[in-house]
């Protein structure tokens, strides 16, 4: 890649910091050049997020229809699966799978729910009621 070809398409990271790219100057020697982002990368990230958003809204539907507990919604929103959630909360995977059922979830103690709420960085009330404020997750 030539120095003048280093892309400068502003990404969300580009607003905070610029990335170092290695590129060649006129004489063919490698130099570093800062990049604000690259459209190809930005859209790759967008594609990943669109997929996440669709899974989150599907989870939300299921919770509203009482087919799943709010845990499913926060799990999808937090980009987690049962395995990662088990690591973070200290619950066993089979416990988490049970907690995904609304009937089981509603009987959980606040102490257990608090362990989830902390991982998702939300308050206990918001966790129980599937509330979210802004972009926080």
């Amino acid at each position: 890649m030539k120095k003048e070809d280093v892309p400068q398409d502003l990404s969300s990271l580009g607003r905070i910091t610029k990335e170092v790219c290695y590129a060649t100057d006129n004489s063919g020697k490698y130099v570093t050049e800062l990049s604000k982002g690259w459209d190809v990368k930005i859209t790759a990230l967008d594609a990943a997020w669109e997929d996440i958003e669709s899974r989150v809204s599907y989870a939300r539907e299921k919770v509203l229809n009482k087919e799943a507990s709010p845990l499913l919604y926060f799990m999808e929103k937090g980009l987690m699966d049962v395995a990662i959630l088990a690591d973070y909360t200290g619950f066993w995977k089979w416990q988490i799978k049970r907690h995904l059922k609304p009937g089981v979830f509603n009987k959980l103690s606040d102490k257990k729910l608090q362990r989830y709420a902390e991982v998702f960085s939300v308050s206990l009330e918001d966790f129980k009621n599937m509330n979210i404020h802004g972009d926080k997750f």
Partner: protein, 331 residues
């Protein structure tokens, strides 16, 4: 100082701290045989296959220090309090330390980048009250993390969980030009082995061929949408968070130019150009992939073109590594 790749950058900065200034980012990368390729279809990250362009986290620092004869202190922890105490002791003893962290809870990263990615590295160089002073090689300026925030990212969970991993080079090491020359040579030789001779179909040049052939089948096997997401994942691994562009191929090309300063063998410069060409083709392939995941193109022949790019890249890199393996080292 900012760098393209977190671990190269951390390695270079930590070595600078103990008075070793000659090791640039490309040198650290090349000496540690940093160029790699592996496709692991069974292991999933973010619902896509793992495609890595670099070896496991920690190996670049380890490899560089080992090749240069620098002693390293490295520790992982079971308990969080223990990890915190060890960190404070290091800082009190005047050592800046490298930490492996997950980016998921890293507060200064933009939300869009905060996946469960655990192979990030940063330097902690001091503390003020409850705040740790942090130099993150991705960021242009130093930043701070509270003890809670730092503990959280040091104990991120999931694939390649850092488990509080901390490392620093011991002071008092001196690196001679002769050592660097030798380290460059062994680094290249090892990289040749990693890319050409590991007997697994998903690793190195063979892995690139394997992936290229798979890509051609993704459209039928996965459906256009999922195939697009897989390609997006490939592009993100290739270009995202600190690769220096082109799946580290440009950094490696820069390394070979720097190697020439230590080993004036003309063919090093020619091979450097081969890696530049390879990096350029990786980026051309990324543009093709973007066409597919944006939905602009998506026929089977578009997937074939994509797969063929990888086959072409594999052949270029095979030739480059064969050329490296044939170098007649003078010293």
């Amino acid at each position: 100082m900012q760098s393209a790749h977190c671990e190269n950058g951390v390695t270079r900065s930590l070595l600078k701290n103990i008075g070793i200034h000659q090791i640039t980012e490309p040198l650290a990368f090349g000496i540690a045989s940093g160029l790699f390729f592996v496709y692991i279809p069974l292991l999933k990250i973010n619902n896509g296959p793992v495609i890595a362009f670099r070896p496991l986290p920690g190996l670049i620092f380890k490899g560089t220090c080992k090749a240069l004869g620098i002693k390293v202190v490295r520790k992982k922890f079971r308990s969080k309090p223990e990890a915190g105490i060890f960190l404070n002791d290091c800082l009190a003893g005047g050592h800046a330390v490298g930490c492996q962290v997950g980016v998921y809870y890293l507060p200064y990263f933009p939300k869009e980048y905060r996946f469960h990615f655990n192979a990030h590295n940063l330097i902690v160089y001091g503390s003020v009250d409850d705040q740790y002073l942090v130099s993150d090689p991705i960021m242009e300026n130093p930043t701070r993390l509270s003890s809670y925030e730092l503990e959280r990212v040091r104990f991120a969970k999931g694939t390649l969980a850092p488990r509080g991993q901390i490392y620093y080079p011991e002071t008092g090491s001196i690196v001679t030009t002769q050592q660097i020359k030798k380290a460059i040579r062994t680094g290249i030789e090892k990289n040749v082995r990693n890319m050409l001779h590991i007997p697994l179909p998903v690793v190195g040049v063979k892995g690139i061929i394997f992936t290229g052939k798979k890509i051609k089948k993704w459209r039928d096997k996965l459906g256009i949408k999922k195939a697009g997401l897989y390609l997006a994942q490939l592009v993100r691994m290739q270009e995202e968070i600190g690769t220096g562009g082109g799946g580290f191929r440009f950094i490696y090309a820069a390394f070979l130019q720097e190697a020439y300063a230590y080993h004036p063998i003309d063919v090093l410069l020619d091979i450097s150009k081969m890696f530049t060409d390879s990096g350029d083709l990786w980026r051309t392939a990324a543009v093709q992939a973007a066409g597919i995941y944006k939905g602009r193109i998506g026929s089977q022949s578009d997937f074939n073109v994509m797969g063929d790019y990888l086959l072409e890249i594999a052949e270029m890199e095979r030739q480059a590594f064969v050329a490296l393996s044939k170098i007649n080292w003078q010293s």
